[in-house]
Symmetry: C2
Subunit: 121 residues, 2 copies
DNA sequence: GCTAGTATGCACCTTTTGGTAAGTACCCAG
DNA sequence: CTGGGTACTTACCAAAAGGTGCATACTAGC
């Protein structure tokens, strides 16, 4: 067990340590709207593999952001939802989400330029 | 030049496409406080290599978030600052930054647990 | 057998991101 | 010559993150 925990230089760094992961932002976005079963969540998120989605859900659960409820049924039935902590995070993300929505076209252009530069190199 | 641009599922996804990069959040954090010379910025950010810092600054500049001013002097003198667009982003990040600050201890514990799990596996 | 549904795991591989080490070019001081 | 400062570049490598393909186990239908 490490006795030294990572020192964050600022709150933003710390927050991004929680949501860093290709699919975590989308998971948070969808769960902010309400509880979802695994399959519903996966379809909502899009083209993510089981392996990676489960991996990132496990991390979010371990971090206390997401709650997993297994009903122990056959076929398996598992619900995912945001914890209270998770809801505070989702609230803090709302302005950034709005900013992204407001600037989607600019961002898409920027990303396209980045991808074009990479294709040439 | 690709004719298809990436489609973002939500604003959060789009926003994180701009700030994704190990050092970008810290760059934004420091530049939000005012213009910095390259060396000042690098010392502020911490243990980042020239190569990676320049790479991420170039991306932020290309995305219209950061402005680079080269004074053409010897020794070289280059200033980095946030653009107007960059300032809108920094504003949208403020709540998340505050959330991270408020929950630093929880986050540090979560990250430590993650690192402990990785050390055992 | 095959298909579909439910949720997840494992071994191995590919891609992406960040880092290392050395360098460029100019200035100054000892 | 050595060291320091200024701001970057290149080639190659290491580590991290995400993906592929196959599997688990139960149900149903063709």
């Amino acid at each position: 067990m490490p006795t030294q925990t990572r020192a964050f230089t600022c709150g933003l760094d710390a927050a991004l340590a929680v949501i860093g992961g290709k699919w975590k932002p989308l998971v948070l976005y969808h769960l902010a709207k309400g509880t979802l079963r695994y399959g519903e969540l996966r379809r909502a998120v899009g083209s993510v593999t089981h392996k990676v989605l489960i991996q990132q859900l496990k991390e979010l659960e371990a971090d206390g952001v997401v709650k997993r409820v297994d009903y122990g049924e056959i076929p398996p039935r598992v619900d995912y939802s945001l914890t209270k902590f998770g809801h505070t995070l989702a609230s803090a993300l709302a302005p950034l989400c709005q900013w992204g929505t407001d600037h989607t076209r600019e961002i898409a252009r920027a990303v396209a330029r980045r991808e074009a530069r990479e294709a040439v190199a």
